[in-house]
Subunit: 257 residues, 3 copies
């Protein structure tokens, strides 16, 4: 048996909205610690890791560790029915083959209850090694989103280079070539804040198409943290009250262009 209640249901809507274009079917891994997802995108280039902490739900019960296979596409359709102010309850009786979603608004006169059929999916939990990264950058998720979206005008390959003082986002295409440079900055305004920690300089290339997909999660958190090391996938991390959503993306090598 699994049952969880989230008074701020809109977070769940945003999470599913953030991953629905990358994965269509996933296992919800449920333990008494919380709910997590680990899934490769369909082209096996990006990895999504979602962790929601049991302690941050209003209620969370799980009698034994279990995997619930769900269609993200269908779950997203059902969650669209939930209002932004609704609480959301997730419930699955053992061996029922069903996840029941209950949406309830602040006005108790309206109750929505939907059943989602569970799927049987291969469980392939990857062990992701803990890693020291050469560089870590924390910045406004809105600013990072704007930069990635705007540079897509020029080409799909984004070069990110980081040294102690600045992070550079460079592109080069038929349209022209150029770069956006941002210096480390401490400000009261989240959108102007930029924190850089560097052990070794990095200079790596990534697909803007994927970064733009990841940036849908900017609605979950005002800040994004980038972790980079040479020849290792970049980690794009969004932290929020309920937990965190991380994307791993392999760098492009020169031949990819």
């Amino acid at each position: 048996m699994f049952e969880a209640v989230l008074s701020n249901g809109v977070v769940l809507k945003k999470i599913v909205e953030s991953i629905k274009e990358l994965v269509t079917e996933v296992n919800l891994e449920i333990t008494s610690d919380g709910l997590s997802i680990q899934a490769m995108d369909s082209s096996h280039i990006a990895l999504i890791v979602l962790i929601l902490k049991a302690s941050e739900f209003e209620e969370f019960q799980c009698d034994r560790p279990q995997n619930l296979g769900i269609s993200i596409t269908y779950l997203n359709k059902l969650l669209k029915i939930a209002g932004n102010d609704d609480s959301i309850k997730l419930k699955s009786e053992s061996d029922s083959g069903i996840l029941t979603l209950t949406f309830q608004g602040p006005n108790n006169e309206k109750i929505c209850e939907f059943n989602l059929n569970l799927l049987t999916l291969d469980a392939e939990h990857l062990g992701i090694p803990e890693q020291e990264y050469s560089a870590e950058v924390k910045m406004s998720s809105l600013e990072f989103t704007k930069i990635c979206r705007e540079l897509t005008q020029v080409t799909d390959t984004l070069n990110i280079s980081i040294d102690k003082e600045a992070i550079k986002f460079a592109v080069s295409g038929n349209v022209g070539a150029g770069c956006i440079t941002m210096r480390g900055n401490v400000s009261d305004k989240v959108e102007e804040n930029l924190f850089i920690r560097v052990n070794g300089n990095v200079n790596m290339a990534f697909s803007l198409r994927y970064l733009n997909l990841f940036n849908k999660a900017a609605m979950l958190s005002e800040e994004v943290v980038l972790f980079l090391s040479p020849e290792v996938p970049i980690v794009i991390q969004f932290v929020f009250d309920l937990g965190e959503l991380k994307y791993f993306l392999a760098p492009k090598v020169a031949d990819d262009n």
Copy 2:
């Protein structure tokens, strides 16, 4: 001769907007009592009945009962030229073959005058029998619109069941199955109000595609009234200052699924 002036012209824009996807050519039936339309949609599944009362126009003259055949598609294009604050005058001289529309804004320096060619259409006025309905539900038109639109995510067939205490909107499809339950409620806020009158319980199925088309009329009225009886078309009624717009829709039978 027919002439009518509407100071609040935007209502006419909204009415035509509400029916333009269901009917393309209709007869305006004009008497000294007012202006009415009765038309089946092109697939003969839904019936539209519009009644505008002469007494609610700023001016209304009609020397004899007459039918003016018009293209709703073209009328809609011309009405788009009218501003939301414009008054609208409709005028048709006898046997002129033309309906003249005059739009005038609060600023008198701008006058728009357009002629719409009249069509000769078959006049087929249906006698709609007065009927006692088993159930009547009055609720927020916005809430009803949201429910229909959201449940379209799941399937096209909406099951509506009503008893003394609640109205249930149920759907079932590949995505999953579920229902939205709303209890009768008296509130100061229109969007939370729900009035139920029941002589006999009903449980009927309808096409969400049509209900979504009807709900365009929610811009005419904050409230919608549903009238239901077993095996009889549902009536969706929107009442507003100038008159009322009613849609009749035959229920789906089990085989329709």
Copy 3:
């Protein structure tokens, strides 16, 4: 060498946005007086004349008259990267083959620098004769935009006739026929102001498709000035702090319908 700085960079974004659907490659003609463009649209029906005055830039240096051939399509993509509050610097070293754009926000921590490859284009500067026009009309650019857009519902050919007291915009198509009449008016509100100067009445027809394209420049100026003489292209002029943008459009002759 050419270098110019515009603190209010959004004006440049709007200018390029206003012409990008009419021309794809143009010569920027640069002298110590300023920057200008003169270009026919691809179908050779409309002429665009842009004049930006050196004195209105924050900085403007030009060591000798020169033409910089640029792709408007690519320039537009790069300008989309600039924020609305950014200053824009344009710089081109002699014989570098490159125009460098630097965008800088009010927050100095972020700098964007892009290089646009220059093109070699035929320079064909037309001598446009100074002309006395029969009629001149100054009106709200927003109102003119609305009229053109709305009448497009009816047909593509707009008839403009002007006499001492009023300007009439008339259309005729399958949908119907009609006209919008606006009288000369002096008002404190720009959107109600209408100034008419007439030496001889005019009555001419133009393509609404082109007028709608020109009207993108309404974002540059609250007012538009129309200059008309029989059998001569209409001039649609938008004046703003930095200079002016004029469109010339040949009238339609009866056979064009």
